[in-house]
Amino acid sequence: MKVTLRNPTRELEFPGPKSIVALLQDLDLNRESVLVIRGGTLVPGDALLADDDEVEIRPVISGGAA
């Protein structure tokens, strides 16, 4: 799957399927400080991402990065 991170914008590849929880753990991100976005809408925390998914991980803390 293609994962876009912001501030600064960069892209990473991960093999799927993978849960949101596992992905955020791999990236060492707190679930409270980011949103996962796919196709313009939010992906719920219990979702499983497929190998061909494209998601954005967006920081929500002003002054923060993800």
């Binding site: 976005i37 939010l42 803390i61 002054g63």
Partner: protein, 317 residues
């Protein structure tokens, strides 16, 4: 994950409410919380004309959307700060939003209208960029609100912002600041009422609201925002929040309910309308002579514009 209200598929969990929501019911929650803050702190009366300070970021665009949805006559004011490409992109986001929603947007450009920009003002006055910027914003928002006959200026400060400021003020027992940390400041001669309708909503909720409402805000940050103390306080509070959801809300709401009035004696006179003079340039109430904004303009306007730097190093924005 199922929506607490309709049992349909949920898109977001809000741990401090111990609940999950679908898009529709999450947006309703955000609207209800905004209305509740406005009501419990008597920020606005029905039909008030509100000037919303819009930066292009998630909080201010969401606030504008919410006040409009709640039936207030809400116009936006965008200040062009002259902070390189960041200002160009944030201005474009605000204009696109206003056009799409058919909302009235006012603009003031520091360089075009007042002859300076934030980086130059910071350099010539040896203030931090945020201090020069904050001074400019306060003065120009107050002026625009009074001249435009608005009942209040609304800003997008959210629960995380207010809890972080409170945490910093409490760590150092800055009683003078604690005394003034209210989500609404009443109008007084020369100054409009100021309100913060998002104080019951966290940062994650505001970003989620924007995504679900299709609000195209700028995710990038102002390049002048140093990785500052404020951010450290937010992170510390989020660590506590992760272990004990609801802590930020309890900290801030408890302060307003049970503590802030105890610091009333510490409020400095000038915050209570003790200005005894009028600025000899612009006429705003001030403590003496020329107000801080006019002194800033006097020194910065006409100065050679400086390149963007952070801590002395050039930055590319």
């Amino acid at each position: 994950m199922k929506c607490q209200v309709c049992r349909g598929p949920a898109v977001i969990d809000v741990r401090r409410h111990n609940a999950n929501f679908c898009a529709e019911h999450f947006c309703k929650l955000v609207r209800d919380q905004t209305a509740k803050a406005i009501e419990e702190h008597e920020m606005l009366a029905p039909g008030d004309r509100v000037l919303v300070a819009v930066s292009g970021g998630k909080d201010s665009l969401a606030l504008w959307d919410l006040l409009d949805e709640l039936g207030y006559e809400a116009d936006g004011l965008y200040l062009g700060l002259g902070i390189g490409g960041y200002s160009d992109r944030s201005g474009a986001a605000v204009r696109a939003f206003a056009t799409r929603r058919g909302l009235t947007l006012h603009e003031v450009d520091l360089r075009a209208d007042h002859g300076y920009d934030v980086p130059t003002a910071a350099a010539v006055t040896r203030r931090s960029p945020c201090s020069a910027c904050g001074l400019s914003k306060r003065h120009l928002f107050d002026r625009a609100a009074l001249e435009g006959g608005y009942d209040a200026v609304a800003t997008g400060h959210n629960l995380d912002d207010e809890a972080a400021v409170l945490f910093g003020n409490t760590l150092r027992w800055q009683t003078e600041y604690l005394a003034r940390q209210h989500p609404v400041l009443p109008a007084r001669p020369g100054f409009p009422r100021k309100v913060k309708p998002l104080v019951r909503l966290g940062e994650r909720e505001m970003a989620a609201y924007c995504v679900l409402r299709g609000i195209d805000y700028i995710v990038e940050e102002c390049p002048m925002a140093e990785g500052n103390k404020h951010l450290g306080y937010k992170e510390a509070l989020n660590e506590i929040e992760a272990r004990s959801p609801g802590s930020k809300q309890a900290f801030y709401a408890g302060f307003l309910a049970r503590a802030v009035d105890r610091f009333a004696d510490a409020a400095p006179d000038h915050a209570e309308g003790g200005e005894t003079a009028s600025c000899d340039r612009c006429g705003v109430p001030t403590t003496s002579g020329t107000c801080a904004f006019c002194r800033l303009v006097e020194r910065a306007a006409g100065a050679q514009p400086v390149a963007l730097t952070r801590k002395g190093r050039p930055i590319d924005a």
